[in-house]
């Protein structure tokens, strides 16, 4: 699920960035630092959308670095158990398959793949129905439901299922 929230971060800036463009430098450094990161608490930071306010800088003794407390608005993506996501398959093996829904990685183990789909090894390992009408392989687009998340301080990993109504392949890469 996406959220638009306000976060705060202490930015350390090298004295060489001080000058007329201090604020711009601060913002671009912020974007470089936080976009694409993940915190277990808030999820993946997708994009910084604005600066709320930049506090007074504090000069670090000995180094000359200055720390600015920056409040910024950003879009975050946080997956939840039970959430339905659309994802792209990145890897298929006999244990199941991995898929990416934006920044989040999801693993679907083979017992959560419908029973009528069988693993086919080979150049392009895949799961296929007996009549061959549905195939899950690398780059397939799959709608899945998250049934578990592992949230570390800097990492979120999910496991999902496609064994439910309206889940499964939503396009066929072979047909495109």
């Amino acid at each position: 699920m996406f959220f638009h929230i306000v976060l705060e971060r202490n930015m350390q800036l090298h004295p060489r960035y001080f000058g007329r463009n201090l604020r711009d430098n601060l913002v671009s450094k912020l974007m470089k630092d936080v976009e694409g990161t993940c915190s277990g608490r808030h999820g993946f930071v997708v994009a910084v959308t604005g600066i709320e306010n930049v506090g007074k800088g504090i000069i670090r003794d000995g180094t000359g670095f200055v720390t600015f407390p920056v409040k910024y608005q950003c879009v975050v993506f946080r997956p939840f158990k039970g959430e339905i996501l659309e994802s792209v398959v990145t890897m298929v093996n006999k244990m199941g398959f991995f898929a990416e829904a934006g920044p989040v990685q999801v693993f679907v183990s083979n017992h959560l793949i419908p029973d009528d789909m069988e693993f086919q090894s080979g150049d392009m390992p895949n799961y296929t129905t007996s009549d061959g009408s549905v195939k899950i392989q690398k780059d397939s687009e799959v709608r899945l439901k998250i049934i578990g998340t592992r949230v570390d301080a800097t990492e979120i990993f999910c496991i999902g299922t496609i064994k439910d109504d309206f889940l499964g392949v939503i396009n066929d890469p072979a047909a495109v």
């Binding site: 006999k94 183990s109 959560l112 592992r150 990993f157």
Partner: protein
């Protein structure tokens, strides 16, 4: 229409809310405070009502208002009932009472409560449409949950290293991928990982050290059992759902709409269009749109001992006998329309033979008629009619008619004779054949029959005379 839905409610109540105890009672259960089953009683009571004031319901059920409220609040959360609360004066209460009186069922006493000044009154009503959905959803969820667990749908797959016995689960998957092959590998010893449940299933009943696995198997058995029991025990409910599926849903609308409708219906039923409906709305108020209409089926022909009289009556319906006061000189009428006395006489030729037939017929028909009240009624009607006709004919100074004049039952037999004569006509194949044609009403045809025509004309004229006199 509402009955199948009520049955659904009753079944659902017994299936899901049977052992419901009102929440919040922390005190140990004594026999007295054990109020299981209240929910069923309340729901049953609601199936016999429409919108009902909660105090009234409590009184009817001999429950404490608080206790009832707690139950009702629960059902509201369960989306079984809709409730409405409003602050109202005595007048507002009166509107409701009037509406209640207009419904056939809930005719409980509520006088005396109308002196309430300004109180918040709560009303409740079953929400059939929603109940149908809620019950279906509940069944779906129950089945789904059991099946999911049975099929390990939402369980996290576990893996174990064959070498060192280290355990992993699917959430570790990212770390376990090896790029050498498509298997998962142990982080510690790089051994091959196996899916755990498969492994244990393989050494079924082996070293037996794993109580965990036994517990899981027991759990599976229990789940299967529950699923099976569910199918059996909830079958009546599911069947009822199927029965109700294509029926229109009883809808009472909001409290206001319902009140307006109920009192309007009540007023209409009492033939009253305006004014204070309260005093006139008795216990015989109008049935509500969904409480079912009274159907009256009058079975005219269904009776077994159907007499000849009835038969003749139905046979002759094609030609209606006009009441004398409708016959005027200008009308082009057949004899049958006037009553066919004259015709019969002509056919038989003499008055005596007609009379004989009259009496014979009369006897037979009377025997039959005794069986049937309807026949009696018809007989009486025809008797009156015939009497009139005889009077007319007496006025026309027709001597033959004196015989049957005072015979009350001769009308039915009269019809009989009419039929009989028609049969005779067929047999004879004489000029009388034209009688039915004439009966169907052409004036020209009438003229062709010479023997009859003058009599009819005379009759017409006499008729006028008699009416004028």
């Amino acid at each position: 229409m509402i009955e199948p839905y009520n049955k659904l409610v009753k079944l659902a109540a017994r299936a899901f809310y049977d052992d419901l105890t009102s929440k919040g009672d922390n005190q140990p259960k004594t026999g007295r405070s054990d109020n299981r089953g209240i929910a069923v009683v309340v729901l049953d009571a609601l199936t016999r009502r429409q919108w009902v004031r909660e105090e009234d319901l409590a009184k009817d059920l001999k429950l404490h208002t608080k206790q009832l409220r707690r139950t009702l609040r629960f059902f509201e959360e369960e989306k079984i009932i809709t409730r409405d609360h409003r602050r109202e004066t005595a007048k507002g209460a009166k509107i409701y009472s009037a509406a209640v009186a207009a419904t056939a069922d809930a005719a409980t006493g509520k006088e005396g409560e109308e002196k309430v000044k300004l109180h918040t009154h709560s009303y409740c009503c079953l929400d059939y449409a929603q109940i149908y959905d809620v019950v279906r959803y509940r069944l779906h969820r129950m089945k789904h949950k059991l099946k999911d667990e049975l099929e390990n749908k939402n369980t996290v797959q576990e893996y174990i290293c064959i070498n060192c016995g280290k355990r992993y689960n699917a959430l570790d998957a990212l770390r376990l991928i090896s790029f050498e092959d498509e298997d998962f590998h142990c982080e510690r010893c790089n051994g091959k990982l196996e899916v755990e449940s498969d492994k244990f299933a393989a050494q079924d009943g082996g070293d037996g050290g794993d109580g965990d696995e036994n517990a899981r198997r027991r759990r599976r058995e229990k789940l299967k059992d529950m699923l099976q029991k569910m199918e059996v025990q909830l079958k009546p409910l599911i069947d009822q759902l199927g029965r109700v599926k294509d029926l229109p849903v009883p809808e009472f609308g909001t409290l206001q709409a319902w009140e307006a409708r109920a009192s309007a219906a009540g007023r209409a039923a009492n033939g009253e269009n305006s004014g204070d409906s309260k005093s006139h709305l008795g216990y015989n108020g109008a049935p509500m749109p969904y409480s079912g209409d009274t159907k009256v089926i009058v079975d005219f022909n269904g009776t077994e001992g159907k007499g000849e009289g009835v038969k003749s009556e139905t046979d002759s319906t094609s030609l209606k006998v006009l009441p004398p006061w409708m016959i005027t000189s200008g009308m082009n009428l057949t004899k049958e329309q006037r009553g066919e006395v004259k015709q019969e006489i002509k056919m038989d030729g003499t008055s005596t033979s007609t009379a004989a037939q009259y009496t014979d017929e009369k006897k037979s028909t009377i025997v039959h008629d005794d069986k049937n009240i309807q026949d009696e009624y018809i007989k009486a009607y025809y008797a009156a009619l015939l009497k009139k006709q005889h009077e007319m004919e007496e006025a026309a100074k027709n001597p033959q008619d004196g015989n049957g004049a005072d015979d009350p039952s001769s009308s039915t037999s009269n019809r009989q004779v009419g039929i009989k004569t028609k049969r005779e006509e067929d047999d004879d194949g004489t000029e009388w054949e034209e009688a039915p044609v004439r009966g169907n009403g052409g004036y020209k045809v009438d003229l062709n029959v010479e023997a009859v025509a003058p009599a009819e004309d005379e009759d017409d004229e006499d008729d006028v005379d008699w009416e004028e006199g």
